[in-house]
């Protein structure tokens, strides 16, 4: 049985683990989603963007959605991005009419989700991040 020496551990940490973590947090793999996010933000940052008096999407919501997309693992299926009348942004993953997950990003750092998984449905709220505050 071999035991990794401190030198080998450090080597593994620098050569493998840190680059992997950097790659995982890199936004390069999510460029298309981030570009779509920018388009949605541009379309929905003014009131009544949906023609039904929708609230504008706040900058905090934009930043939170950016963080959420950037946190997705590389290779994760690309979501479809949209917005809701209360000003929250949505990420949707859909395989079929009965298999869909929708996540709303709120400006206060909460994620509200709802999903249909065949005969099952799930919905709830998660705390994802601290609200973005401009310095």
């Amino acid at each position: 049985m071999t035991v990794a020496t401190p030198y080998a551990s450090e080597f593994i940490d620098q050569a493998v683990r840190r680059p992997q973590e950097q790659l995982r947090s890199s936004t390069l793999g999510h460029q298309e989603s981030l570009e779509e996010l920018g388009e949605v933000w541009d379309e929905c940052r003014h009131a009544n963007w949906d023609g039904y008096n929708a609230l504008p999407v706040a900058q905090e919501t934009l930043c939170g959605t950016y963080q959420l997309i950037a946190s997705l693992p590389l290779g994760f299926p690309r979501p479809s991005i949209s917005a809701e009348p209360d000003g929250q942004l949505t990420l949707e993953w859909r395989k079929s009419p009965g298999r869909v997950l929708s996540v709303s990003v709120a400006p206060d750092g909460l994620l509200h989700y709802a999903g249909l998984f065949g005969p099952n449905k799930r919905y709830g709220t998660l705390v994802f991040f601290r609200p973005f505050r401009e310095n």
């Binding site: 949906d50 039904y52 479809s80 709303s104 249909l116």
Partner: protein
């Protein structure tokens, strides 16, 4: 359209139309409607138009009118039965206005966001998207 002097109550088997005025509220890939199109607005009542006694042209004229006064683009409409709303515990009532005797509203939405989302998801899954042909 319905006779403004004799508006019947909404029945479960009726078909309703939700006009889609935002391009990302429907999916081009398979011509389906997204749940965002059915999320209640800050006013809490979801605006709908009854198909009852309305021609296809009449429904589209109403959609064009709604889009025009809101300075928006009418991309299409989502057709869905009243039962889709009733199955989610929502109320659908006739809310006629001078310009549209077929106007209706879906109310009794829950206050919490996830509950709203799951209801909108269910309704959207039962809706049929009809694109506006120009």
């Amino acid at each position: 359209m319905l006779n403004p002097a004799q508006i019947p109550p909404v029945e479960p088997a009726e078909l309703l139309a939700r006009f889609v005025l935002y391009s990302r509220h429907f999916r081009i890939s398979d011509n389906s409607v997204k749940p965002e199109a059915f999320m209640p607005h800050p006013s809490v009542m979801l605006s709908l138009t009854r198909h009852r006694e309305a021609s296809v042209e009449g429904i589209w004229r109403e959609g064009d009118r709604v889009a025009a006064i809101r300075r928006a683009t009418l991309y299409g409409r989502a057709d869905v039965l009243v039962t889709a709303f009733l199955d989610e515990g929502l109320h659908v009532e006739s809310k006629p206005i001078p310009e549209n005797p077929n106007h209706a509203g879906a109310s009794n939405w829950p206050a919490d966001k996830p509950s709203q989302k799951i209801k909108a998801l269910q309704i959207a899954s039962k809706a049929k998207y009809v694109p506006r042909q120009n």
